[in-house]
Amino acid sequence: MPWFLHLALRQLFPPGKRFPAFATVSILGVGLGVASLLVVQTVMNGFGEEHRLRIRESFGDCQVTGAATLEQPEALAKRLAARPEVASAALYAEGPALARQGDFSGIAQVRGIDPADPNQPARKYVHGGTFDDLDDGRIILGVGLARALRVRVGDRLEIWSPAMAERAEKGKAPLPAEFEVSAVILTGFAEVDNAAALIPLRRFRELWNLGPRAHGLTLRLKDPARAVETAGLLRASNPGLRFRPWQDFKKDFLEAIRFEKTMLFFLMFIITLVASFSIGSTLFSAVIRRSREVGVLASLGAARLQVVALFGLQGLLIGALGTFLGFVLTWTILAFRDAILSGINACFGDGDMMANIYQFSKVPLHYDASDFVIAAAFTLLTTAIAGLVPALWAAGRKPSEAMRDA
């Protein structure tokens, strides 16, 4: 070990002192700064990932529509599912309808789905009832719509489709379709929860007079992250169709999450910056206090660069240990995040905000290695600079002055 590293370690951690004040406070300051930065980033990543997943599950990885309804959707689905980028393709049909229960009514966005599809995303968001009970006489409602209609699982309601209005125009008696509520779903997206009504595709085609047609397909891709590129490829080989990657849905929302994350990074980085400044100022006082030692080192033949290394390394060591502590704190805080949130909610009398507002069962998180690398790099850079400034000052002094001023 070079002598200046040995001495730097000894000056930071003098023998016989378990928690030397300067080192302990500085490392804690940096550690807390790094932890604040990473906890916020990781939770923001979690929110972003969770929302992206929900968008994909609600709208599919890629939605395929045509200028009109798809005439031979089964064949198209088969053809697209055979593509190497596509994992599966499912038909859908959707349209608005009037839902009514007694004196209560609302506009439902009815969607025809395949109840036998084991990958049907709605299965994950069942909030009451059973998905598998869905059949031609049953319907699944978004929780908001169910509330508006005052219905629960097992209650009955009527659906009036536009095709029924056509029947009335033709002088035939329009009869509403009756359904029993088999389940309610809660996705966290208000526009879905307040309007969604799921029925079997076969039944939808009947009520909308669609025949064998469908409104579109939802594709599950093997690599959802490359949905934009895949959509481009599919578009090129299917010119008459429109391919909409999941990133196009809720674009502003996703952009807002990304922007929030960037802003929070800079806000939280200020904490690390403040910690680095405090290291700089404390190290400056330490260097002034050690002026005589700087002179003695010069008298022993220490080169200026070695004196710079001695004090600069102290800043860097604090940064490295603080960053490591920050990583440990981040992991610890995030491991106990739900207990911490419950404690905060209990203190401030808030309910379970995660469940009530975001419909998350726990605080979401997503570790992103690049956040850790960036936080470590920024912290090491700022603490190195914080150590380097007093180090350069010390090394620039005449040994005789250093020894006299101390």
Binding site: W3, R292, V296, L300, K398, P399
Partner: protein
Amino acid sequence: MPDLVLQARGLAKSFASPAGPLPVLTDVSLEVFAGESVSIRGSSGSGKTTLLQQLGGLDQPDAGEVRILAPGAGLVAPRTSLGRGVGFVFQNYQLMPELTALENVALAARIAGTPELSADAAARALLTQVGLGTRLEHLPAKLSGGECQRVAIARALVNRPSVILADEPTGNLDERTGVEIMDLLLGVVADRGAALVLVTHSREFAERAGRRLVLSGGVLSPA
């Protein structure tokens, strides 16, 4: 004739003051030979420490030049021979408070480029020679003033310099310890064939040097 280990010619140094430049050294010339001991006495503020700093390369003179014999390099500027050609002993010991006695001495050797193990071995041998063989792992705070000065002497000698510059080495010690330290300093310096330039207030200690000088009015003259 013994080797010339220190040569100073026409040294001048002044400091800025509100009343204008304050000359401290006006024309100092000095030659010291291997194995020789030279004492420099002078009243407070006469410039003894300033002279020692010019001789050791801790400060640059306004005029004149200093050359010190560095092992294997001949007579060189003191700044380039620091730690190897010249060793310092200060009044306040100036030990690193976080390092043990052994580490303080070994530090000087390591700064001079000696590998860690050899530096430790040399430091251990020297500390044993100055009577601190049982205090190797003690921090300066756990040592008496006399013991600290012994560590400082060992540190000054560890790189086998050709000249030791001692600035009031007994100034912080009681009379008895001061005598012990002077005995030790003169003894080990002679043992190693180094030269000693001793700055002191004490007439008694100054008398023990082979050559005695007085610094007054910015010039050196025989006592």
